[in-house]
Symmetry: C2
Subunit: 295 residues, 2 copies
């Protein structure tokens, strides 16, 4: 199999890795040239700046996942509809340099006639799946827009987006709750965090539970320093209320700071977790490349 | 019974009315002197500016509801705990000018050990109750922080706050959704609004359903001009998902612009509604005054 140049090209940053034929990472690079910084038509030049030396190898194959394949990116790689596995994604690759550089499509699904989409997370899911030698599971990719992804028989059957990171930031920065919150989030207060998780799981809606940040402050029942942790627990607990199921273990993929919070909240619900970081992206792109080139 | 001077003194504005002994409104006034504009100790002077001529009457009685009774207001009138009716509220009045001017306390209740509060809405609920000659019902007071209030046997037994107006404003103004929303909300698009209501009622959480504003825009499935109505439907539909119950009619109290939206959403769930406006505040304060002065 050809060595792979793997690129995760997001909105505000870019990560690149050169992988050996066995999938091990030879070298990694990061850059702040997210798609928002790239002018129309400028994508080949930015890729050359970042990985031109790697691409000079005669048999280089480069797979690019993330927002580079969106309408605002290099070129639109239309969403592959769920259920989708490696085969469906491989067939839907958009080759911007035929045989050498391809954009990986995102996935779409529908709930009651309303579409949902992801772009980049599908590669992380397939990578985490490969790293576990599994073909099914429930995956959570926490972030600004968290994804809860169900995999069955090696294919993503359905998923749901929660605007959790964004709601946290909105409430923390722009809402009435910000008046009693300290300027810095500070270290996680696990007790306050789990109090928030538990309240959200019984409260029925974040519309209602969020107000408890204010009333608990009013009655001096949560100190100001603990309020960011409590609010974070409310938001993550709201996700768990809807998506977590007793007895169904969860694979978390993301930064340690976020996956640790989710693991803590899920453990409090009696749900086992396993966590992966950037390695899931590289393994996902490598597994995709391998599916293109039977050994 | 003495003629009543009724004051609804909120955060950003003040409304005043002089009522006849039979509860009819003789004269109304409004002012922008909400409590945020009043310096510490300045409340008697502002009240005199607005209603000094009315207060000059020898037997004047003045009841003030709303945020004037909060810690940031004239003086704190501590919350009366639920269940609470006229008797409990009358006992908890805070007289700032004994026998002449009193602050009406707000109400508090608890859900799973977490407090909830309201201040001013309790008077509107009792007014709407009196206007219907009823002693029980489910009341909704839409707004920045909507209140869903349950009355049984003439007393508020429990209530819940939803930060609906605030969530709408946060999502509309500061979130990623604002990128595809038009500058003005425009007139209500009833079809888009009800589509939002219905999606929210099945989606499980606004954290998830809010993302549909973006995906429907991405797939050109809701025109930009209809997106504010759709988002409004999502937020109100989220309230209904948690709090509305088939067969339990709802009394709405608030501005016509808001109560009409809730009536439309509730009708779509097969729930009958009745709407009241400012008259509920005046009738509530009048009924409270009457309970202080048996005829």
């Amino acid at each position: 199999m050809k060595p792979l140049i793997a690129i995760d090209w997001g909105t505000s940053s870019l990560r690149a890795a050169r992988l050996a034929a066995d999938g091990s990472v030879i070298e990694e690079r990061t850059s702040d040239r997210g798609i928002l910084t790239v002018p129309p038509g400028g994508f080949p030049a930015v890729l050359a700046q970042i990985a031109g030396d790697w691409l000079a190898a005669p048999e280089a194959l480069c797979l690019v996942s993330g927002m580079a394949g969106s309408r605002q990116g290099w070129q639109e790689a239309p969403y592959a509809p769920c259920p989708a596995g490696f085969d469906e994604i491989a067939r839907a690759l958009t080759w911007v340099d035929p045989g050498r550089v391809a954009l990986v499509p995102g996935l779409s699904c529908e709930h009651d006639g309303v579409p949902d989409v992801m772009r980049g997370e599908e590669v992380q899911v397939f990578g985490a799946l490969a790293l576990q030698g599994a073909s099914e599971g429930l995956f959570v990719l926490p972030g600004t827009h968290s994804k809860w992804v169900r995999v069955q028989g090696g294919r993503v059957t359905t998923f749901a987006t929660c605007m959790s990171g964004e709601f946290y930031a909105l409430l923390r920065t722009h809402s009435i709750l910000s008046r009693t919150l300290p300027a810095d989030d500070g270290a996680l207060d696990a007790d306050a965090f789990l109090r928030g998780v538990r309240h959200a799981r019984t409260a029925g809606s974040l519309l209602a539970s969020a107000f408890s940040v204010r009333t608990l402050a009013l009655f001096d029942a949560v100190p100001a320093a603990a309020q960011p942790s409590y609010l974070s627990g409310l938001v993550i607990g709201e996700e768990l209320r809807v998506h977590a199921h007793a007895g169904l273990p969860v694979t978390l993929v993301g930064s340690a700071a976020l996956t640790e919070r989710y693991a803590l909240a899920l453990a409090d619900c009696g749900i086992a977790t396993r966590c992966f970081g950037a390695e899931a992206t590289w393994r996902g792109l490598w597994a995709l490349a391998r599916s293109l080139q039977p050994p």
